[in-house]
Amino acid sequence: MPEDPNKIVVKDVSFSYDVDEETEGKAPRLALDGISVSIEKGSYTAILGSNGSGKSTLAKIIDILEVPDSGKVVIFGKDTDDDNLFWDIRSHCCCVFQNPDNQIVGTMIEEDVAFGPENLGVPNPELRERVDQALKDVGLFEYRHKETMALSGGQKQKLAIAGALAMHPDILILDEATAMLDPTSRDEFLTLVEKMRKEKGLTLITITHDMTEALRCDKIVIVDKGKAVKEGTPEEIFMMNDLWKYGLKRPVKFNFAFEIAKLTDSELTEDDLRSTETLIASLVKMLRKPGLKAPENVPSPEKKTDDNDIIMSVKGLSYVYPGSDTKALDDVSIDIRRGEVLGIVGESGCGKTTLISHMNAIFRPHEGDVIIHTKDGELSCRNKKDTMKIRQNVGLVFQYPEYQLFEETVYKDIAYGLRKMNLDKKEQTILIRDAAAKVGLSERELNSSPFELSGGQKRRAAMAGVLVMKPGILVLDEPASGLDPKGRHEMFRIIKELRDSGTTIVLVSHNMDEAAVNCDRICLIDNGKIKAVGTPAELFVKKTADELNVQLPRITRFSAMLRTELEEIYPDINFCGNCFDPEKEAKVIVDAVCRAGDADA
């Protein structure tokens, strides 16, 4: 039967990575378990699923980077089983992967872009034209003679796109290609890719953990345990009530809308989700329904931490990297209060990591100082003798800490820091178990090799290795990056528990949404300088945010539209504050409408 030449058809495909004979008797773990998907030519499809669900394997099967154990894959009428078509199919499908550093082959930018077409045997001068055109398309043409390592993360991903475009593909697959980028570069990157799709008629497949990103697509496929469990338009998919089962959740604005629907005993339909305007209109309609009940437990403005109880003071800190002429940090001063969660927010390369590296004396201050206030007096990062004490008091977890695990067992890895402290075995054991419990690692996981754990577990094991020292201050650099929605949720739950048990937390993030929900105060950094410090409610007011030129969290942007509509209907409406958790914000809105409605009556 001839297959449709306008479709990518994956039919009953199974695939397993462990093919070695050792697994005798045991059935090998299937990465794909009889998956069937069909994707239209020229469409824009998102593949969603939890970590380890088989999304990336599906992408690899389509690009014939892996050959299915069973089942059939036909790309635009060409069967991948046909050896004669192998290179033809692969050369028309390109992938951009998550880690920019691990997909750049060339040292110079134009050399890297040329790598693909060179492999295809494209002769000069066509090769030169393709490379130049691809670089112009992504806006890196002026940089063509520069080193690839000199590019920023976002630019490196654009370079990867150029490398793909130079191969003149029909299909472009983005495998979590935006996961390591900050929101600005993310938007830029997606806009670029979508423009390329329009211009070149590409079939675009994107694998992502970002639900709002998935909204930009025509179609969503949910993959779970190696099967495609749901397929549909974004509206159809986000109507589902059991997304959580697949480690997913709704995009922020839908989350908020569904909460309002729940509080007003109404139902949302697919048509409502079609666009922001229709959604706002139907939400207004719901809120104007007679007999609206005021919700219980309307969140009150957040509790304040004590302004005077300072645990760490950063004083006039400046830092210049050797060999650089610009200041990575420029006269940064901030007091961190005991028991708060302080968010440090800014774009990549603004100095966030440099700042936190000073907090436990990994970098020694060139100018200024960092003082830690402990029960036993003050510790100064300038003072070499205090270094060990500082590092016990301030735990620092860098980004992707799981890449730094090295011991045979998780238990031993967590113990690493303790071994340097001359504690007896018994004390050590208690501390280790305590730390493991805090991050939710079981006894079995403690005794297994760190390399056997899943991504989220590894990250938590690495965190336990820092928590075991019982630091009063915990500094976390992007603790949730690369995790699926469920993993992120879990991570922030742990952070909240740590805060509740008295740990002061410094949280570095470029995700405004999460920073707004999880932080008591936020410190905005731009070009090595502090731009503003305040509570999320203070900073994320439209006027202030505009002045500071920061993006508001998605929930605030969406809710503001609804608030404007409501203000026109109820001129006297009075909202009690801003909340950044979609559920809480929904309550605030419903509560305000109730009170305004009562006043009207």
Binding site: L65, W87, R90, C95, F97, N99, P100, D101, N102, Q103, V105, G106, T107, M108, E110, E111, A114, F115, P117, E118, N119, L120, P123, N124, L127, R128, V131, H145, K146, T148, M149, A150, S152, G153, A164, M167, Y321, P322, G323, G349, T353, T354, S357, I362, R391, Q392, L396, F398, Q399, Y403, Q404, L405, F406, Y416, G417, K420, M421, F451, V466, M469
Partner: protein
Amino acid sequence: MPYAGQVMPMLSNISLGRYYPAHSLLHDTDPRVKTLLYGVYLVAIFIIKEPVSIAVLAGIIFIQLLTAKITPKILWATVKPIIPLALFIFLINVFTIKEGDVLFSWQIITVTNYGISRAAIMAIRLIFLIISTSILLTLTTTPLKMSDALESLFAPLALIKVPVHEMSMMMSIALRFIPTLAAETDKIMKAQQSRGADYDTGSFVNKVKGYITVLIPLFVSSFRRADELAVAMDARCYRGGKGRTKLNPLKLTSRDVLVGIMFALLATLVVTLDFSLR
């Protein structure tokens, strides 16, 4: 991910295999010519021993530096890491060579005039070697061009089934990843330091042990990177050297030949001078 060059104060002085982007006569010269010239200078550096010819060679190397537009700062970064080794070689030679007139003697230590001159030559040779490698190869030639040159020069070996293309590809990838892995090492060390690791103090054994805990995650992550890179290369249809074209194919121009002959002549001149002075 931090960008290379952003967060690596501890390891930023690794300049081995670093390319220095600039436009100069030597940058533009065919890498094959540069490789052959490098061979010529290697021989010259190790043959000469007369102070006069060494001075002349220093002059030639200085001319090369100028034609490659290498700044004193870059030169210093290249030479600096090698100075302890050069010093070590110098001292070993000074103390072990017993021929010649004794200048100074104390217990078992004897310093002779011949010893000093030999030792100085040894140390100078090492430094010349490093500078030549940098000027002719690493600083002025991108890793990909370098591997192109080796592939082209060793192409005849492919006839006897030596995997020339594969070897040159391996080399260029290794060079491309040096800065990435240096940044990674720095990151791992910082993470372990913040968990109480101390690489600077303690006994020698302890220091070595400390570095082992750095090496394990570094190896693991290198394997992971290798894996991902292999998939990425596969996805970009890499299938060995067969049928591959080149964006910038190596082209030998008359200027390249001229540069080659000129510098080769200079080297011959130095060697001849050296022999005539003996």
